[in-house]
Subunit: 388 residues, 2 copies
């Protein structure tokens, strides 16, 4: 186990009807609020009206930034920063999934920064402070509701990049599983793949002596796998939706489940290059790439893949070599993704081999990626090629 | 899963040599520090000197409250409150195990309170604020380093009572597994029993639909069980000590592993009555009572005990009834406690049947206890009788 420091200040308010606690959560921060949301589904579901009613009850001045994209753009972030500065906003309230929350985080750290917010993604600057941020989560996926990470796309430069800061943790996040009932099936599927991928990035590690952390990871994976099909078949099954929601948050709760472990995160980096060019959903990209990453790297530490196969997928090791067990676990992962309706190949989402070199080059722009196995440009290209 | 709200503000600094980060952690809170510690082992091990060196490096004015008892007394807490008020202390620094940290928490909430600190334990008042508190943990056991709970004894009244407050969470806690190398074996054993008991209090619950929470609990129990004997046999085995330490913190990290579950906590309440009168170690009392509580209540929900037996103890259910599997898990618990050297009966620690009625009456002074099975005075007496 490596040394670590951990602090997660986010207050989680979880359960049925918890949007009714919004006003009391907002009030300590002030009453000038920027409401950030996406394509308008919150208006169709009535959530928008509930939020406005809560904010009206404390006489809040509400400014709005609608239309945050699924892969949120830096242009949208800049718009939000302008509104905050012009209107002296005191709290940013993100209502949506990971994209909306990520955009709100970038706005929050961008407001007090004198330069352009893209500097954070170019690693030219680090956030030194942030406007307070609260969230209402409507889609279980990224864990952004309880961590300091955010990913933004720059469409002009065809770049999708992540940043992170202790200042970007939401002050509070309201998680009501009922709000996820109306999410389109495809997004639920992508969210499930995304949270499982977050666990994979932490779990496939070479750091020795981390038994509790490994079990926490396995706990989340098993619980997601057990609840996913019910959550998809019966969108109003509270229990299944609540379990999936809590798994999504804990999967990337500031990295708490894997403290003291070195994470990998190469697959996320590779996927970002695909969705930067093709604007596909992050979860879809991960579903395509992750099993191929696994096949490419598993020999680095077969024992961890054997543990994954036996503990998470209940693969019976009797009569099999370690390699066979490991490969059976990887195969089970692919089969599960396919069973819940995720794509398996880049061609499934209409992507050919035109930009493999460009994507591979961009993935390693700051040097080789990955800790479980260090990947160079040619490795990334091969994983993408396996994903065609 | 029940609705819940969770926020744990404690910053955890974990690993080898992390005491060297003390000065930078203290500084933001000020330089007038009350150093709270126990019987002086920190002087023998050299930790005291390291702490003083760190505090001197920021020119801190250090006041001391040594001699905190294993079951810390309210009289000691009152002394600490007096020092803080007289010397305008800005930060309380607890260096020790759960008792020292609990005393420091009671001091922290007591300083700004106008009445007597015992009011909090009589439920006459609730803490409204607190002096900032930092900790350096030297014994893995209570989880007090990362939660808002504290237990204090009133020797004149022969009472031992708990309180808790969001204000009592440490601002930072330094956890260096190497600091536990010199802890006497008996305390290590008691600590292991204590952290397992914390998990039991959360895990044996009737709240439906909490699969992730149950797995988190099982993860901690399995990891403690796997590491306990090595940690005891080789006190300087960093890996084992680190795993035990992290398990102890996560076992009662503000109740995070069991969010949305109703906890039981009857056994803690019963044990407090025993150690209030006999001043035995909390962990010793828990080791004696918990398996008897299990035997007394398991029929309330045999399935949870079957799950415990099979997942945590790998009991093979083949050819056994559910009751037999459940009882085998309880028996495995007792055997494990005995194997690591914990006492099994009250007579093992020199306690007879003289005060059973008094202890049972005091345990239910605020009404029946326990959620898994509601216990009245006669139930508590029977569990104590089974423990003789």
């Amino acid at each position: 186990m490596l040394n670590f420091t951990f602090q997660n200040p986010t207050k989680i308010i979880f359960g049925k009807g918890t949007v009714s606690q919004l006003a009391e959560q907002v009030k300590p921060f002030g009453t000038r609020v920027l409401l950030v949301y996406g394509g308008g589904s919150i208006k169709r579901t009535g959530l928008y009206d509930k939020v406005i009613e809560q904010l009206k009850s404390i006489d809040a001045a509400v400014f709005e930034l609608p239309g945050v994209e699924p892969n949120p753009r830096v242009t949208t972030v800049r718009k939000g920063i302008d509104i905050c500065r012009k209107e002296d906003v005191q709290l940013i309230l993100a209502v949506g999934g990971g994209s909306v929350i990520d955009a709100a985080k970038a706005i929050a750290v961008g407001v007090p920064y004198e330069g352009d917010v893209w500097d954070f993604f170019e690693r030219k600057a680090q956030p030194a402070s942030a406007l307070p941020l609260g969230t209402i989560l409507t889609l279980s996926a990224t864990g952004s509701e309880a961590n300091g990470n955010f990913v933004i796309s720059n469409w002009e430069l065809k770049l999708k990049r992540g940043s992170g800061s202790q200042h970007a943790y939401p002050r509070f996040s309201i998680l009501d599983p009922e709000l996820t009932y109306t999410v389109p099936r495809e997004h639920v599927v992508n969210g499930i793949v995304d949270m499982m991928s977050h666990v994979f990035e932490q779990y496939f590690s070479k750091t020795p002596n981390t038994p509790l952390q490994e079990r926490f990871c396995e706990s989340i994976l098993q619980t997601v796998i057990e609840n996913a099909e019910t959550a998809l078949a019966k969108p109003t099954d509270y229990d299944a939706r609540a379990n999936i929601m809590w798994c999504g948050t804990m999967a990337l709760n500031g990295g708490q489940i894997s403290l003291g472990m070195q994470g990998d995160w190469a697959t996320h980096e590779i996927e970002h290059q695909v969705s930067a060019i093709y604007d596909i959903a992050h979860g879809a990209g991960l579903a395509i790439i992750f099993p191929n990453w696994m096949k490419y790297v598993y020999k680095e530490r077969v024992d961890r893949f054997v543990q994954y196969a036996t503990r998470v997928w209940n693969i019976d090791p009797a009569g099999k070599s370690d390699e066979e067990v490991a490969l059976a676990g990887i195969e089970a992962t692919r089969e599960f993704f396919t069973r819940i309706g995720a794509p398996a190949t880049l061609s499934d989402v209409g992507i050919g081999d035109e930009h493999l070199d460009q994507m591979a080059a961009e993935a390693v722009r700051f040097g080789p990626i990955g800790q479980f196995k260090e990947l160079h440009q040619e490795d990334v290209k091969e994983i993408l090629r396996m994903s065609l």
